[in-house]
C-alpha cells in the first residue's frame, strides 16, 4: 500500500515507495529501499529506506530497527554476530563532527523503535573505485597507490578513534568506505553490526582493515581460483603457492602479494603478511597497523 503516513516502523518490509515516515516531527517521503549486490545476486534491504525530507527536500537514508543474529565461521572459528541499532545510534552521536564517518541522528517512532535518519554520502565506494581504475598494476602502484594509502591512513585513524572509545565498527568492508565526491574524504558507513566479545575485541575490525589494504595494494582481491585458472594474468604463480601465502581466516584468499608483484617493498608486504597463515604475531590494535602503514608510505615515495 502506498501513500500512508507511518509512525510505527516495526513492520518495515511493508513500508514502500510514496509512504511517509513521520518521526521527530518531520515527514520523510520514501522513494525506495537499498540493495547490496553480493556475488552478482541482488539482496534487497527493506530496513534501509531511501527517502526525501519533505520540508528541506534533502535526500536521506533511513535505517529501521532490524534484529538478526547468526553465527559466522571464520577460519573454523565460530563467532556470534548480531545487529545492534543502538550501537549504530551511539556511534552516530559520537562521531557527529568527524569528517571520516557518515552523519545522522537517532529518533524513536511511536513504538520506541530506533530510527536512524542519515545524511547521504555522495560518491563511489572503495571497492568500485579501485575496480574502476584503468592502470596496469605497476603503474597503479607507483602513481596512484601512494595517494590512496594517505587517504586510508586517515580512515584508519578514524577507526582508531572508535576503538580508543570502546566502539567497534563491526563490519569493515571495502564497500563500507565511500569516497566523498566533493572532498575526496574516505567516509565509513554502516555501524550496526556487532559481535560477541572475545579477548581480542577488535580482531574482526582489524581483519577488515587488512582486507581493505589487500584490496588497495593488490588493486583488487586475488584468490586461489583466479590464480589457478587465469594463466594469462598470473603466469606460473600457481606452481609456487604455499599455504602460508593465504589469509589466516580464508584459505583461498591470496595475501603474499610480493610473490606476484616483486617490486612491492617488504615493509608494505609485511603488513599484509600479518593476516596470513604464516604469521606468528598479529595486530592487536589499529595503532600498530597505522605505524607500519606510515613506514610503508615512506618506502614507496
Amino acid at each position: 500500500m502506498n501513500g500512508r503516513v507511518i509512525q510505527d516502523t516495526t513492520n518495515f518490509v511493508s513500508i514502500d515507495y510514496q509512504d511517509e515516515i513521520l518521526v521527530g516531527q518531520r515527514r520523510y517521503t520514501v522513494t525506495g529501499h537499498e540493495h547490496e549486490f553480493r556475488f552478482g545476486i541482488e539482496d534487497p534491504k527493506y530496513w534501509v529506506k531511501r527517502a526525501i525530507d519533505k520540508e528541506t527536500r534533502e535526500k536521506k537514508i533511513i535505517k529501521l530497527a532490524f534484529f538478526e543474529s547468526f553465527d559466522i565461521t571464520l577460519g573454523g572459528v565460530k563467532i556470534k554476530r548480531f545487529r545492534n541499532p543502538e550501537k549504530e545510534g551511539e556511534i552516530l552521536e559520537f562521531v557527529q563532527n568527524h569528517p571520516n564517518f557518515m552523519h545522522g541522528k537517532v529518533f524513536r517512532d511511536i513504538k520506541g523503535n530506533n530510527v536512524r535518519i542519515l545524511d547521504v554520502v555522495p560518491g563511489t565506494n572503495f571497492l568500485h573505485y579501485i575496480e574502476s581504475l584503468d592502470y596496469d598494476h605497476e603503474n597503479y602502484f607507483e602513481k596512484v597507490l601512494p595517494g590512496i594509502l594517505n587517504r586510508l591512513l586517515e580512515a584508519f585513524e578514524a577507526i582508531r578513534f572508535l576503538h580508543l572509545n570502546g566502539f567497534k565498527h563491526g563490519d569493515i568492508r571495502n564497500d563500507h568506505i565511500i569516497i566523498e565526491r566533493d572532498t575526496g574524504n574516505y567516509i565509513w558507513i554502516d555501524f550496526d553490526y556487532d559481535h560477541e566479545a572475545t579477548e581480542n575485541p577488535y580482531a574482526l575490525d582489524l581483519f577488515g582493515l587488512g582486507n581493505v589494504l589487500l584490496h588497495a595494494i593488490g588493486k583488487g582481491i586475488h584468490d586461489r581460483h583466479m590464480i589457478e585458472r587465469q594463466l594469462s594474468i598470473y603466469g606460473d604463480l600457481k606452481n609456487h603457492l604455499e599455504p602460508g601465502d593465504f589469509s589466516i581466516l580464508d584459505r583461498t584468499r591470496f595475501v603474499n602479494l610480493k610473490k606476484m608483484y616483486p617490486y612491492i617493498p617488504i615493509v608494505v608486504n609485511d603488513i599484509l603478511m600479518h593476516f596470513s597463515r604464516s604469521a606468528n604475531v598479529y595486530y592487536d590494535f589499529v595503532d600498530e597497523i597505522i605505524e607500519d602503514l606510515n613506514k610503508s608510505i615512506n618506502s614507496i615515495n
Partner: protein
C-alpha cells in the same frame, strides 16, 4: 549473560577452586595460608581483569592454564596468556598447557 547462568557459573568456578585448595592441602600446604577469591566484577576482557587484580593485590606469580589453539582461534578469540606476559613484564607468569 543471563542471571541464572551467571549464578551457576559462579558456583561451578567456586567448587573448582575449592577442589584445587584441597589438592594443595593434601600436598602439605597449611589451610590457613590458602586464600580463595572469586572476582565477579565485569571487565572488558579476561586479561584486563587479571591484570587489574594483579596490580591491586600483593602477588609474586600468575599461574594460568592455556589450551592449544589454532592460529585462527588465536587471532579471532585472542590469547589471554600472551596479553598477560606482555602486560606483566617483570613478573613471573607460569603457563600450564591444558590440552
Amino acid at each position: 549473560m543471563g542471571k541464572k547462568f551467571a549464578e551457576e557459573e559462579q558456583a561451578r568456578v567456586l567448587s573448582f577452586l575449592q577442589e584445587a585448595k584441597e589438592r594443595l592441602i593434601e600436598d602439605g600446604y597449611a589451610p590457613n595460608e590458602i586464600k580463595i577469591d572469586l572476582v565477579t566484577k565485569p571487565y572488558p576482557t579476561i586479561a584486563d581483569g587479571i591484570i587489574d587484580q594483579f596490580h591491586k593485590g600483593d602477588y609474586d606469580i600468575v599461574v594460568i592454564g592455556r589450551r592449544t589453539m589454532s592460529k585462527a582461534e588465536e587471532f579471532v578469540l585472542g590469547d589471554v596468556c600472551a596479553k598477560l606476559i606482555r602486560a606483566l613484564e617483570g613478573t613471573a607468569v607460569l603457563v600450564v598447557r591444558t590440552a
